[in-house]
Symmetry: C2
Subunit: 359 residues, 2 copies
């Protein structure tokens, strides 16, 4: 982040006609985005573009979710037909919707709004060995980077992460454990709704995934330094190994999407636990990318809070959502816009002739 823009933004906040600090967490958002954009005020983060990265998961075979795998394809069709919650929320936010096939386990018919970057027909089972090869992880990362670049080129000034992939909360929990050192029992949640027995199996599967892939917590922690540490080739290789071992293709693509947004100096609003897990990978690959990220919401998944704490991000919406698709990120978009708009439009005590509180 640019220190001059950060300082200028903080000082500007204090001159505006409002009690100091009275916009709470929104002041921090505006200041952070000024630092990330190296501009005060930062550009308005409109219009927004949602990218929903869809992929399937070999670990589905382990019975970690009651939902059949074909729901991934069915929901992709629902997104493309405009019938999902993400579509309704995107319409509300004035955001475009792009669906990206990075690894759905079926061939998809052409459709407007669908981008094809299929790297594989789903991942391998992460509890039996690496979910992806290094090459697959890199290909998915590059797909995410390309999508971000193209959306910004098409006019987007804010990117919102979305995901679809039945069983992807299992891979998310494994990534979060590997990158933060959290225990599978605390980081593994109930996803879109699993019973006690399935949840216990899911925790065990995450544990197996870490063991089988030789990912002790301390190695992984080393790969994801909390904030500010310059990345290195060694760290980058370690991060890639974690991502390939227990991530999903959509996690890798979202990590690339974050990197691509950061490279374009455009804010990236992270959705829930899948994005949080992916952002840990992005942070491990290039820590400064997180300067451009805003945590859209806090998911009901327990691992998400661990991921956000590790990233140093405070979620804007906290309404017990556990849907994914980008819904939490979309809800946060008008809040981010409001935070930035204040920097553009609000009068100062001087300009408005309002008496300032005596200090």
């Amino acid at each position: 982040a640019d220190p001059r823009a950060l300082a200028e933004a903080r000082a500007h906040q204090d001159r505006l006609t409002k009690p100091r600090g009275s916009l709470g967490a929104l002041e921090d958002v505006a200041v952070r985005l000024a630092g990330a954009a190296a501009a005060c005020p930062p550009p308005m983060p409109e219009p927004a573009a949602l990218a929903i990265f869809a992929a399937d998961h070999g670990v589905h075979a382990r019975g970690v979710t009651p939902w059949p795998q074909e729901v991934t394809v069915q929901m992709v069709a629902n997104f493309l037909a405009g019938g999902a919650v993400a579509n309704a929320f995107a319409a509300q936010a004035g955001a475009s919707v792009t669906v990206v096939d990075v690894g759905v386990a079926a061939d998809l018919p052409d459709a407007p709004g669908l981008r094809r970057h299929k790297v594989a027909y789903g991942t391998a089972d992460l509890s039996r060995g690496p979910a992806m090869t290094r090459e697959q992880a890199v290909a998915a990362l590059e797909a995410g980077i390309a999508v971000a670049r193209d959306l910004v080129a098409a006019g987007a000034r804010c990117l919102i992460t979305g995901d679809m992939g039945i069983a992807n909360t299992t891979a998310s929990a494994a990534l979060i454990c590997a990158f933060t050192g959290a225990d599978p029992a605390t980081a593994t949640g109930r996803g879109t709704g699993v019973d006690d027995e399935t949840h216990a199996r899911k925790v065990e599967v995450v544990r197996e995934a870490l063991r089988v892939n030789d990912l002790p917590a301390d190695v992984a922690r080393d790969a994801a330094p909390a904030g500010g540490v310059a990345w290195s080739g060694v760290r980058q290789e370690a991060a890639l190994r974690v991502l390939a071992a227990v991530g999903g293709l959509e996690h890798a693509a979202i990590a690339g999407f974050v990197l691509g947004g950061a490279a374009a100096r455009v804010p990236v609003i992270l959705d829930g636990v899948i994005a949080g897990a992916a952002a840990l990978a992005a942070a491990a690959l290039h820590p400064a990318a997180i300067d451009h990220c805003v945590a859209g919401h806090r998911s009901a998944e327990p691992g998400h809070a661990a991921a956000l704490a590790h990233l140093g991000l405070r979620p804007l919406v906290d309404l017990e959502l556990r849907l994914g698709e980008g819904t939490g990120g979309l809800l946060a978009h008008p809040l981010v816009c409001a935070a930035v708009r204040v920097m553009h439009e609000v009068a100062t005590f001087d300009s408005a002739g309002v008496t300032e509180k005596p200090v």
Copy 2:
């Protein structure tokens, strides 16, 4: 609330292409608004209209805030010139802004966007006796009702409460104590920023106000039954007495605004602690009015949580705002729209051909 619309809305939520309950608190908002509107889906709460009720407070003389009283007038001018945070947030939400003078302690020049309902040049000092006469409280209530009615007649489909009045968190704390039985030490906050000494004085002033005006906690609690109890003339008189004794003219007007919105069956998004205190009065006057209310946010003021708990409302935004003006209500508006939009636009499992999770 209409039980048939409530039940229909709940059932409809469960048919939509998302895991059951996965929209968390937003599902409750949509269901509640269906019940309030007696329609499923409920009408889209757009466009929204913000009304900022401005008034001054005799208790300002007691030194409960470091801000000079003339800031009320100066901020009214700032709202009318479009330079306040509320204006920026309203522009973001596509909401109109109306400023209502119900009791500013100065004569205001005409301006587009200003409505004149001045009942008095500020209230009397609530710590020395009643802040308002019964007639003044009723006049301010009626002003709020009229503003709500006129905004709905002009096309608003959602009302958002706003306030401006230096020292009005003191009156809010007194109202909250009187209506909920909370202790002044826990319900009185630091408003827009007061030091320890001023805060201690503010707590003492609130305590004096309750004593001087003969408002023991149990009488007041009786006036504000938590949910569902039918109002009666006796309760209504008790509520009016509390409102007149320790309320501000903007509190009375906002209570009327809530009643007016409810009468028009339009959702009313409550801003922060001032609106929460006013809504307690509205609830005491007519409990069913709260069915139409959505708590926009939770303010940093400690009394606000007590007010919301008493009203049974869950705030949508929780970002440590403590500005007032309607800013928290405006931030919540797109979230409320998103919640309702889901009911209008999202496909069902059947219509989209998505496999439902086996139960």
